[in-house]
Structure formats: structure tokens, C-alpha cells
């Protein structure tokens, strides 16, 4: 509703301005108004919304980077201290215990290591990842983070740690999600229209070639809806592309990479597989991957929206047909029953008349 309004008004406006240009040749104010109107109309088309989403993501990335990079990481210090403590303890053990008694030494070292391990586990659960804030919040990573916020994927491999980061995330989501929904609807509609046109063209071409359907063209043109299977094929193809691409880059096996694509496109986003976010990896080479993942996810969302649109239409048509069939069937049955009843009635009357 909101979206259609400006387009609509601009349509009226252009007509009006055409009228006015025929009467008053060059009114600069009118021209400027028209330009402005056209600009707004453009902003609400798919290109404008796409640009808006990308701009919003870039803005968010810059903002989050700025906020989170300044945040001093206390955990890094903690973990370092634990490690030094552990080394100290190991030294003490080595000094105090008889060196040549291996089992005792082993036992004690094992206990110390277990303590260390538990500490690290807690730290990891509370967000320690072994990297400094500068390493984590590189620009592509921040871009990925803002994408995962407003598309509601939420990978969770990078999370804000500072208070301001959290507050800004909430505000960012509040404004970003409507923009994203706008993008989703718009992209879905445009892609659905394009795909439908393609499908219909292909359909007609194939039918013209087919001699069996020659006489079928005389019939009034039936409204063609794209079948659900076609949508599913498109989505499967897209997932397959993603599978092969990420599989080759990240050296995941095909199951893992299919799993990643489905989990991303369904907006679940567990975050157990994220491209370019391997912890043991250095952050250097992963930037391009993050950007490409960004594009992949954004395009994929548009495709999902398209399929959603088309499938909704298809299902609606199918349900209507089903209902009509059912109605016809019921009508037939009731007709038959009434005829039967009338027959028996007639028969009874006849019999009684005969009896008389």
C-alpha cells in the first residue's frame, strides 16, 4: 500500500505534467516537481530499493565497525592470564614432583589442563574467539553482520559485545527489517513478472512447434500460471550453484554446503557454517568470500520471494479449481439423489394408484 502510492501518484503527475506542458510550454517549477516525482517513483522501484538496501547495509557496516573496534576486549587479557597461570603451575609441578615418576606428573598435569580447558570453554561460550576486535570487525565482516541483522538470518558468528553495539543493533533492526521487507516484496514481484513472461514465451513457442495443439489456439486464451515445480527447479538450481561454489571455496563437502545454503535462504542461520569465518583461518583472504556471500544471500532472498509469489498464485488457482470441481461433484450427487428420490416417490404414487 505504502509502496504503491508514490508510483501511483507519480503516474497521475506525469499525465498532468504532460497536459500542462501542452498548455504552458516550460514551467521550471513544474519541471522540477516532475523530476522530483520521477525520482521518488524510481526510488520505490526495484533498483531504488535494491540500492537502498545495499546503502543501508554499508552504512550499518561502517557504524558497527566504528562502535565495536573501539571496544577494549577484556576476555583476550583474561585468556592470556589463564594461559600464563597454567604454565606457572606446570612449572611448579615439574619442580616439586620427582621427574622420573611419569604417572604422577601426568596425572597432575592432566588436572591442571582440565581446569584450563574449562576456563576456555566458558570464555568461548561467552564469545571468545581467539581474535582481537580489529581482526573480527573488518569491513566485509561488518557488512555480513549488518546483512544478517536486517535479513533476520542472524548467523551469530560475530556479535556485538559493547553496550552501545547492542543498542544500535536493536535500533538498526527496527529500521532495517521494514526496508528489507520492502525489498523482498518488490524484488519478488518484479522477478515473478519477469519469470512469468519468460515462462509464457517459452510455453507459447513450444506450443507453436507442437502440431497437436494447433487447434488449441482457437480457444480463448487461458490464463497461464507458472507451475510450482518450475519455481522449485529454479530454487534447486540456485542452491546447487551455491553448493558447488561454497564447496569449492571453503572445502566443505557437498552436504555441508547444501545445508549452509538452505539454512541461509530459509533465514534460520545457525552460524555453524559461515563462509570466510573459519576461526583457525587468518582473516586476510576471506574478504572477497564475504562480499560474494553477501550478494548470494541478497539475490537468493529475491529468488525466494519470487517463488513465494508464483507459488501463492499457483496454489490459489489450484484451490479454486479444486473447489469448483468439488462443487460440481456435490451438485451432481445431490441431483442424482433428488432424481432417485423423485423416482421412488413417483413409483410409490404409481403403486398406490395402482392399488386403488
Amino acid at each position: 500500500m505504502e509502496r504503491q502510492l508514490p508510483v501511483h501518484s507519480s503516474f497521475h503527475g506525469s499525465i498532468r505534467s504532460r497536459d500542462s506542458t501542452s498548455t504552458v510550454e516550460s514551467d521550471p517549477r513544474e519541471k522540477i516537481k516532475d523530476c522530483f516525482r520521477k525520482f521518488i517513483a524510481f526510488m520505490f522501484t526495484q533498483v531504488g530499493v535494491g540500492a537502498l538496501v545495499v546503502c543501508y547495509a554499508i552504512l550499518g557496516a561502517a557504524g558497527f565497525m566504528h562502535i565495536e573496534k573501539d571496544n577494549p576486549d577484556l576476555q583476550l587479557e583474561d585468556v592470556k592470564n589463564w594461559r600464563l597461570n597454567c604454565a606457572e603451575k606446570l612449572w611448579n609441578i615439574t619442580v616439586s614432583v620427582n621427574i622420573f615418576n611419569e604417572t604422577v606428573w601426568m596425572h597432575k598435569v592432566n588436572n591442571v589442563l582440565k581446569l584450563f580447558q574449562n576456563n576456555i570453554t566458558i570464555a568461548v561460550h561467552t564469545g571468545y574467539s581467539g581474535r582481537t576486535a580489529e581482526d573480527i570487525w573488518s569491513f566485509p565482516a561488518a557488512l555480513m553482520y549488518s546483512l544478517s541483522v536486517f535479513t533476520m538470518i542472524g548467523y551469530g558468528n560475530i556479535v556485538p559485545k559493547s553496550v552501545w553495539g547492542k543498542i544500535v543493533t536493536i535500533a538498526y533492526a527496527c529500521f532495517g527489517i521494514p526496508i528489507y521487507v520492502l525489498y523482498f516484496c518488490n524484488m519478488g514481484k518484479v522477478l515473478a513478472k519477469t519469470f512469468k513472461w519468460l515462462y509464457i514465451t517459452a510455453h507459447e513457442c513450444s506450443r507453436r512447434d507442437d502440431p497437436l495443439f494447433e487447434d488449441g489456439e482457437i480457444q480463448p486464451k487461458k490464463k497461464i500460471t507458472v507451475p510450482s515445480t518450475a519455481c522449485l527447479w529454479v530454487i534447486s538450481f540456485y542452491i546447487l550453484t551455491g553448493t558447488i561454489m561454497f564447496g569449492a571455496w571453503e572445502k566443505w563437502n557437498y552436504l555441508d554446503s547444501t545445508y549452509f545454503c538452505v539454512i541461509s535462504l530459509c533465514k534460520i542461520g545457525f552460524g555453524d557454517f559461515v563462509p570466510g569465518a573459519n576461526i583457525s583461518d587468518s582473516a586476510g583472504g576471506s574478504h572477497l568470500k564475504l562480499v560474494i556471500n553477501f550478494i548470494y544471500v541478497l539475490l537468493g532472498m529475491g529468488l525466494v520471494a519470487m517463488c513465494y509469489n508464483l507459488m501463492c498464485e499457483d496454489v490459489r488457482v489450484k484451490v479454486r479449481e479444486l473447489r469448483e470441481d468439488l462443487k460440481n461433484c456435490l451438485d451432481d450427487i445431490t441431483l442424482k439423489i433428488t432424481v432417485c428420490m423423485n423416482d421412488t416417490k413417483y413409483y410409490h404414487q404409481k403403486q398406490s394408484r395402482n392399488l386403488k
Binding site: 500500500m1 505504502e2 497521475h12 594461559r83 604454565a87 606457572e88 606446570l90 612449572w91 615439574t94 621427574i99 611419569e102 606428573w105 601426568m106 598435569v109 592432566n110 589442563l113 584450563f116 580447558q117 574449562n118 576456555i120 570453554t121 566458558i122 568461548v124 561460550h125 561467552t126 564469545g127 571468545y128 574467539s129 581467539g130 544478517s148 541483522v149 533476520m152 538470518i153 542472524g154 548467523y155 551469530g156 556479535v159 547492542k166 543493533t169 536493536i170 533492526a173 527489517i177 552436504l255 555441508d256 547444501t258 545445508y259 539454512i263 530459509c266 533465514k267 534460520i268 542461520g269 545457525f270 552460524g271 555453524d272 576461526i279 583457525s280 439423489i337 433428488t338 428420490m341 416417490k345
Partner: protein, 406 residues
């Protein structure tokens, strides 16, 4: 004979249809979602529980290996009395070990404290996060079969949950509107209504006299003969209802003949709400006493919706703050991230504090999420209506302005 039988049959059919519709609309869909989630919980528990033990054992072996390495390569190889060199070496070795732990924990190892990560309640929360597309990721499938099952489970469960959301959201929106009308606007109180009637009486008499004369005829809105575009407003309510103040649905003369025949034709939703004869209003009140309102035509202002959402988030942050010892901001952050289905998974209930209540905390979280998402859907429903209302008003205003200019 057939004449007597058919009404009974049709009545029974009607009852069955109503029952089916009810099951598929509200209660049925809730039960379906819960059952689907429970089934998923059992399934994932069965699939993932087995491989969990292996991982715990693997980590224990890793620790032993590290100790062994320290013994052989560090303690025996280096000069014992060179303290700094030894410490450096140990520190490097520990760093390697630490990296291994970090990777293992990220891959779902739990530190060996709670031996069963895939307990029933956590598997329940997992299934719920899958179908609601929250996806915390605190638990994720490790086995191949787990991944395949998750994909299939998602494809089936997501439409189901969307159905749940739209259905329950609509239902809640309807209830909330009634509640709002009754409590906040006091539209149900008889005294208020009478006063309001008195206020509107003159206006109504003067402006829409012709519409008062056809109260019983508002069925004409249903008939197809005069189905002009204007008449195709929702639920067959004739347009003169819209010109009037919205909450006044029918203003009718006293009807001594009782309920008219079209009662059974009417939308069942309106029944019992806008029928004056269903309330025991005494006939000796003034001729305009039959003012009823339809709660479904009012729009709830945006601020109320936002207030409800914020209140729910605050409530959640209080509960989880108490339960999990998070501070207020973290609790609110968790609730927001969950309810907007982002689900980072940096805060998950039952993740940090290892208490015996962990199972209940998972279940409470699931309940909170299911209710909260329905509530959010309700608020979006209401807000959408309000926004459409605003936009329509804006459009009308814009059209008027444009006309004036010309």
C-alpha cells in the same frame, strides 16, 4: 420424506464443517505446531544423541595427548633449570591446545559438564528455532543424517509455522480489538452508549435519514444485483455504515417481531456481538437505544501496539534476567533478537549458568517464543490495518488537494 431428512443432514454437515474449520483455524493449528515440534525433538534426539558421546571422548583423548607431548618434548628434552625457556615452550604448547578447544567448542563440544547436550528440552528448543527460523545455533546437527533431516524438517515446518502465525495472529488481533473496545474506549458500557447516542442522534437524523429507514434491508448489500464496486466492502457491510461513525453499526427501530429471518445468513462472527436482540435491552428505552458497535471496525492506534511489544520484551528481559543472571540490557537484547527471528545465539537460556533448572528454562524459553511470535504477528496485523487506514486518509487528502489546485 426427503424434505425432512435434508435439513438434518445439512445441519450435521454444517456442524462437521464448523468443527473442521475450528480445528484447522485455531486450536488445531496450535496443537499441530506443538506436536510437530515434539516429534522433531524426539527425532533429533535420536539422531544426534549417539554421536555426542564420541565427541566428549575425543576431547579427553586430546587432553591426554597434550600432557604426553609436554612430558616428552618439553620436560625431558629441555634443561630443567632453565625456567624461562621452559615456560615459553609450555606457553606455546598451551596456545595450540587452546586453539583446539576453541574450535571444538565452536563445533558443539560442551566442555564435558553437562554430558547430554541433546536432552529432550534442548532438542525441543532446537526444533522450535528451526521452524521459527530463529536458528540460535547453540545446537546444530553434526551428523550427516542430522543435517539432511534438518533440511527436510525446515521445508515442512516453516509453512506450518507461518500458518500458525497468521491464524493465531488474526485471532489474537480480533480478541484484542474487542478487549480494547471494551476497556479502553468503554464502548460496551450502556450509559456511555446512551450518551453517545444522544450526541449523535441529531446528526444521524438529519444526514442519513434514508439509511435509518432501511435497517432490515441491509441485506441488500449482499445481493449481487447492486454489487457496485462501492458495495463490495468487507463482509458485505453496506456503505452507509462506513459513512457513519465507525462503531455504530446498526441504528434500527425497535423490532417487535423479534429476530429477523436473515439471522442465519449473517456472518457468524458478527453474531452475538452486534445484534441488539441478543442483549436484554428493555424495549421501553428510547427508540435509538439499539446502538451497537462492531469491535472489528475500530482500529487500534499504533502506539498501543508498540507499547504491547515493548512491554512484552521488558517482561521477557525481567524473567530471563532473574533466571539467567543477565543484566537488563542483555535480557532485552536477547528478547528482541529472538522475537525478530534474528537469533544470533550469543545469549541462549541455559547456556551459561549450569543449574538443575536448565530443562525448565528451555521449556519456558520455548513458550515465551511461541507466544511472543504470535503476539508480534497480532501487533503487525493491527498495525497494518492502522497504516492502511492512515494511507487511505492521506490519499484522500492528497486527491482533494490536487483537485483544489486545478
Amino acid at each position: 420424506m426427503p424434505r425432512r431428512r435434508r435439513p438434518l443432514a445439512s445441519r450435521i454437515r454444517g456442524y462437521i464443517r464448523h468443527l473442521l474449520a475450528f480445528l484447522f483455524s485455531n486450536v488445531g493449528i496450535v496443537v499441530l505446531v506443538v506436536a510437530y515440534t515434539i516429534a522433531g525433538a524426539f527425532m533429533f534426539q535420536a539422531i544426534e544423541g549417539a554421536s555426542e558421546m564420541e565427541r566428549v571422548n575425543l576431547m579427553a583423548r586430546e587432553r591426554n595427548n597434550t600432557a604426553q607431548y609436554l612430558w616428552q618434548n618439553v620436560t625431558l628434552a629441555l634443561n630443567l633449570f632453565n625456567e624461562t625457556a621452559l615456560k615459553d615452550k609450555i606457553s606455546i604448547e598451551l596456545h595450540h591446545y587452546q586453539k583446539k578447544i576453541v574450535v571444538a567448542v565452536r563445533r558443539g563440544w560442551d566442555g564435558g559438564r553437562s554430558s547430554r547436550q541433546w536432552s529432550f528440552s534442548s532438542a525441543f528448543l532446537y526444533s522450535l528455532t528451526v521452524i521459527t527460523t530463529i536458528g540460535y545455533g547453540h545446537l546444530s546437527p553434526r551428523t550427516n543424517w542430522g543435517k539432511v533431516t534438518t533440511i527436510l524438517y525446515t521445508l515442512l515446518g516453516m509453512p506450518l509455522f507461518l500458518l500458525y502465525l497468521s491464524n493465531v495472529g488474526e485471532l489474537l488481533a480480533r480478541w484484542f480489538k474487542c478487549l480494547y473496545a471494551l476497556v479502553c474506549l468503554c464502548r460496551g458500557c450502556p450509559g456511555f452508549t446512551r450518551r453517545r447516542v444522544a450526541r449523535f442522534r441529531t446528526q444521524v437524523e438529519s444526514s442519513e435519514a434514508e439509511s435509518i429507514e432501511r435497517p432490515a434491508g441491509w441485506r441488500s448489500g449482499y445481493s449481487d444485483s447492486d454489487a457496485t464496486p462501492e458495495y463490495r466492502l468487507p463482509h458485505g457491510v453496506p456503505p452507509y455504515m462506513f459513512r457513519r461513525p465507525k462503531y455504530m453499526r446498526t441504528i434500527s427501530m425497535p423490532q417487535p417481531w423479534g429476530p429477523p429471518r436473515y439471522l442465519d445468513r449473517m456472518d457468524p462472527r458478527l453474531r452475538g456481538w452486534s445484534e441488539p436482540w441478543m442483549r436484554n435491552i428493555t424495549p421501553e428505552t428510547s427508540e435509538f437505544s439499539y446502538v451497537t458497535f462492531d469491535a472489528q471496525t475500530i482500529t487500534v492506534p499504533l502506539s498501543v501496539c508498540i507499547f504491547i511489544l515493548v512491554g512484552y520484551i521488558m517482561f521477557g528481559s525481567m524473567i530471563f534476567g532473574m533466571w539467567e543472571q543477565w543484566d537488563q540490557l542483555d535480557g532485552a537484547y536477547f528478547c528482541f533478537i529472538s522475537l525478530s527471528s534474528i537469533g544470533f545465539g550469543d545469549f541462549v537460556p541455559g547456556e551459561r549458568v549450569y543449574t538443575p533448572r536448565i530443562e525448565t528454562s528451555f521449556i519456558v524459553c520455548s513458550m515465551y517464543l511461541m507466544l511472543g511470535m504470535a503476539l508480534a504477528a497480532m501487533c503487525f496485523n493491527l498495525m497494518q490495518e492502522q497504516v492502511i487506514h492512515y494511507v487511505a486518509g492521506l490519499k484522500r487528502a492528497a486527491v482533494r488537494i490536487c483537485r483544489c489546485k486545478r
